[in-house]
Symmetry: C2
Subunit: 192 residues, 2 copies
Amino acid sequence: MSHMVYACLMAVDPDHVLRSAAALLTRKSTATMDEVAKAAGISRATLHRLFAGRDALVRALESLGIAECEAALDAARLDEGTASEAVRRLVRAIEPAAGLLAFLYTENQLFEGEEQNPGWTRIDDRISALFRRGQLSGEFRIDLTPAWLTEALYGLLASGAWMVHSGKGAPKDFQHMIVELLLGGALRREES
Amino acid sequence: MSHMVYACLMAVDPDHVLRSAAALLTRKSTATMDEVAKAAGISRATLHRLFAGRDALVRALESLGIAECEAALDAARLDEGTASEAVRRLVRAIEPAAGLLAFLYTENQLFEGEEQNPGWTRIDDRISALFRRGQLSGEFRIDLTPAWLTEALYGLLASGAWMVHSGKGAPKDFQHMIVELLLGGALRREES
DNA sequence: ACCATATGAGACATTGATGTCTCACACGGG
DNA sequence: CCCGTGTGAGACATCAATGTCTCATATGGT
């Protein structure tokens, strides 16, 4: 049957290309398509066959980031245990994606005016719901809105990723730094 | 005396141009020189006479950001009162510059590899010293390093500026949101 | 009134990234 | 063994932003 699709095994792995691009753009957000291709070990032509342009590549990275984020949200089981424990699990689960998230966070302001991917809203809502749950259970203070706590978490994740990336902090401290500051703050707790 | 410098009063105000550029680039970090010029109410030619190129403009904005930051540090009198009060004053004083800071923060990774302005180190040191003072006085916990607290403050300032800019938060809540989270954390304090 | 100076408008070349194309080649299945 | 398919390499046009230039004009001091 001449019309059959011959699944030639020479095909490059789009996911691997995407991961390479994410790793590169996380460090150098202005990297060229050429640099992205080289980083992935493929030619610019092939890269362009996979993603119809830089825009499409960024969109694909956005989808990847959203998917990883939602996977982390699932893995963290935000509904189980105390809200504090859930936040702790969330930060731990989201750590591998923090660099990509930070990149997309800055890149997103390029899309200002355009419609934004509804995935971000879903993620915002789930995290906000977690903080709201903590407030309703009496764990979290109520003078800070869930929206702000969510935004603050993003900022701290970016700062944490930056600390690790710049070598000023160890990856093993990532979760502790973020969670302790987000939940406990800088003030020394009274000895209870 | 024909060699005298005739101070023609037609000269545009470089500082006003810089402020306009800061205001624009804070919202749209990819604005072109043409847009920057229009935003400042001058022609592209004049803009180019004031700043020899986009690079020079960004450098000038960096200097402006550093100057505003250091002015805020001075105004906050970090050595007076408790460290908490000093942090509160600092966030309040630095609020007008937060947008510019966020822009420079993302733009700085473009300069990676090159030498960075020593002003940032000075600022980092002064803020770190404040947190260290709080730790030595027993106000702040000691398991979070001053470097991390400083970086976290930057992240929260960026998040706060984003909240205000996107309309999701009121400017009047800026200081409260940041300071309360940075110092107190999300956890509800025990009734003392 | 005159003139020096700064500005605005626009033309122009340059640069860098991008998108598109062709062609040679290597691989793998038939 | 042969051929189809995907890939790499590179040429090429395009486009946007930039940097540089000239010239007319307005302004303000003398």
